[in-house]
């Protein structure tokens, strides 16, 4: 396999201005290989979520290139739709569809986007719910579940599309502390299974244990990229040291 095929995400010199003029991304580069787990950290307002959201075109950008799974995300809508099929996303606020049962949340996209057979998807969905530990809630509605359960459903919903890349945007930030673990356990298992993952999070323990590389972003730029051992124990940059001093 050549180098470009092994790259899942290739972002080069990405710049983004919000309509109000705020310069959110100031030339960001990042490469993520297949099977790699990358954790992005940084203070709030550093642009880490914005950057993550460019990987499935929830945010546009003005300069630079983002290539995901060999497809460049520009204004070509066909590419955007094609990429979104292959990229799963988990949000801070879960964003389940409240009017659909848990099972229906999982079935929606495979049936309507992949045009798959309902009975077949249903089997897969139930297996996924089993895997994230909430098979018995399949016929409940999102509003009847706890935050941790909802987030696990959201992960299962993304997985039901059989994505090649999973994006996590602060998946545990709005959970009660005692529910964080159950979500991180699911993510750990996913990592062990070989999924390519990009995770924006403040969970240092998770980053140390799971990440291949940790990225620090600040003020719209990448400050440091290093393997967790080095990132947390011997950071190179002054900014990283200050950040770690605040969160550790």
């Amino acid at each position: 396999m050549n180098a470009t095929k092994q790259l899942m995400i290739e972002a080069k010199g990405v710049q983004k201005w919000y309509p109000n003029g705020f310069h959110a991304l100031r030339g960001v580069d990042l490469e993520v290989h297949r099977g790699e787990k990358v954790v992005i950290m940084g203070p709030s307002g550093s642009g880490k979520s914005t950057f993550l959201r460019t990987f499935n075109a929830l945010e546009d950008y003005q300069e630079g290139t983002v290539v995901v799974d060999g497809m460049e995300l520009n204004n070509d809508l066909r590419n955007i739709d094609a990429v979104r099929k292959e990229v799963g996303m988990v949000f801070q606020q879960f964003n389940l569809f409240p009017h659909l049962s848990v099972l229906a949340n999982l079935l929606l996209a495979p049936i309507w986007v992949r045009k798959r057979n309902r009975a077949e998807v249903e089997q897969q969905a139930l297996a996924l719910l089993e895997r994230v530990g909430i098979a018995e809630q399949a016929h409940k509605f999102p509003g009847q579940l706890s935050g941790g359960q909802q987030q696990r459903v959201a992960i299962a919903r993304a997985l039901c599309m059989e994505p090649r890349l999973m994006l996590f945007d602060e998946p545990t930030s709005s959970l009660d502390p005692e529910k964080v673990r159950e979500v991180l356990d699911v993510m750990r298992q996913l990592a062990i299974d070989g999924m390519t993952m990009v995770v924006v999070t403040h969970e240092v323990g998770f980053a140390r244990e799971v990440a291949d590389r940790v990225v620090l972003m600040d003020e719209g730029r990448v400050v440091e990229i290093a393997p967790p051992q080095q990132f947390f124990n011997h950071p190179e940059h002054e900014r990283t040291k200050r950040f770690l001093a605040q969160i550790l």
């Binding site: 739709d81 979104r84 964003n95 659909l100 996209a109 309507w112 409940k140 509605f141 993304a158 599309m161």
Partner: protein
């Protein structure tokens, strides 16, 4: 029951001032109530209603074709009874259902003789009551509950087919002698035009609401234009405009019947207001729902149809229910442009010298009929709200 006097005392006679207000209001109420009752029993002359019962209910519908309306009524009551059973039959006969059934029996047995209906019509009404209750009973057994679930998805379709069949029965054609829309009248006309307008206005309202938020400029401008133009003019002006303008636009003889012109105007009018209610619902759906749907790869059309609209319509339901009731009341304006809706027929009855001065009797009856229709709509929309609010009923939860 022991605590009733205590509650009464606390709520109505908590302080001397409260007591005075309570006694004052009760006196006023009973004086007014007694006045109306006394008038209705002793001085009102109800002959005007008895003699014109047919006109008020079906207008100038040909007498020889009346059987079609009875057939339609029979079909509707059977369906209503079956639906009633399907919705509430699982729990047997709860108190509310027993009260409703009792009221219906009292009405069907008590009112027709009071209005001096012919013996044959009295029998027909009793038969309708029987159909309704039989339908209700049919679903009260556990045995039929199972089959009711299986046919659950077909229910909307059955009602839709019944509606179209009803239109055919009323209008004729395809084997039945035709009855022109201008010969429909009275309560039949009011209910028919309201339901028809609603059925057409709902999809149009959704389209206008979506158009208003569309990213396609032309679609957006047209939608905003229609909504704002319609909302900026009184309905009565639009109705007059519709009656006259279409006549100029369409070639001679090809202009649609006046009833259809009025239906068109009412439909666009209702759609504009429904669109604003639906827009409110759309605005209430957080951006995150769009993002979640799009990130799963759903197209913008699928996102709208499967994720956003179902939630938005639920939010907009109370406002939409209000619009439906307004629409029913707005149909009274049709009497001003010379159509014989319930109010129009009543005015033509009152214009007859035989019934000179019988205003109070006729208008009281109208008020009651309109009130009943609006109350039914209001009850229906509230029941629907309640049903959608309990998440367990949004789909059929299967036991594990």
């Amino acid at each position: 029951m022991k605590r009733l006097p205590l509650t009464l005392r606390r709520q109505l006679f908590a302080t001397p001032t409260d007591g005075i207000i309570t006694v004052g209001l009760l006196t006023l109420l009973s004086w007014a109530g007694w006045g109306v009752l006394n008038w209705a029993i002793n001085s009102a002359q109800w002959l005007v209603v008895r003699a014109n019962a047919a006109a008020l209910t079906i207008g100038r519908y040909p007498e020889a074709q009346e059987w079609r309306l009875w057939l339609l009524l029979g079909m509707l009551t059977s369906l209503a009874g079956l639906s009633w059973g399907r919705l509430r039959g699982a729990s047997g006969w709860p108190l509310n259902d027993r009260i409703a059934a009792g009221l219906l029996v009292a009405l069907a047995v008590g009112v027709p003789p009071l209005l001096a209906f012919g013996a044959i019509n009295q029998m027909r009404l009793l038969f309708l009551l029987l159909l309704l209750l039989l339908g209700r009973l049919a679903f009260s057994h556990r045995f039929s509950q199972a089959s009711s679930k299986r046919f659950g998805d077909w229910w909307a379709l059955i009602w839709g087919v019944a509606y179209l069949f009803g239109l055919w029965l009323i209008a004729g054609g395809l084997g039945l002698p035709g009855v022109r829309p201008s010969d429909w009248g009275g309560l039949l006309f009011t209910l028919l035009i309201t339901s028809l307008t609603l059925l057409l206005a709902l999809p149009l309202g959704v389209i206008l609401a979506l158009g208003r938020r569309s990213s396609l400029p032309l679609f957006r401008y047209i939608s905003v234009g229609i909504i704002e133009l319609i909302r900026g003019a009184p309905l009565i002006t639009l109705l007059f405009l519709g009656q006259n303008l279409v006549g100029f636009l369409a070639p001679n003889g090809l202009a649609p019947d006046r009833v259809w012109r009025a239906t068109g105007v009412l439909t666009v009018f209702a759609a504009a207001y429904l669109a604003e209610a639906i827009r409110g619902g759309l605005n209430a759906i957080p951006r995150a729902q769009f993002e979640a749907a799009r990130s799963l790869g759903l197209s913008s059309v699928h996102t709208m149809a499967l994720v956003v609209l179902p939630q938005a319509l639920k939010v907009a339901l109370p406002a939409m229910g209000g619009q439906c009731i307004s629409l029913l009341q707005d149909t009274t304006l049709l009497s001003i442009i010379g159509l014989f809706d319930l109010l129009g027929i009543a005015r033509s009855v009152l214009a007859n010298p035989d019934w000179l001065g019988r205003y109070a009797e006729v208008y009281l009856l109208l008020a009651v009929l309109y009130w009943c229709s609006c109350a039914a709509l209001s009850l229906g929309s509230r029941a629907l709200e309640k049903r959608l609010a309990s998440p367990g009923l949004q789909s059929n939860p299967k036991p594990q």
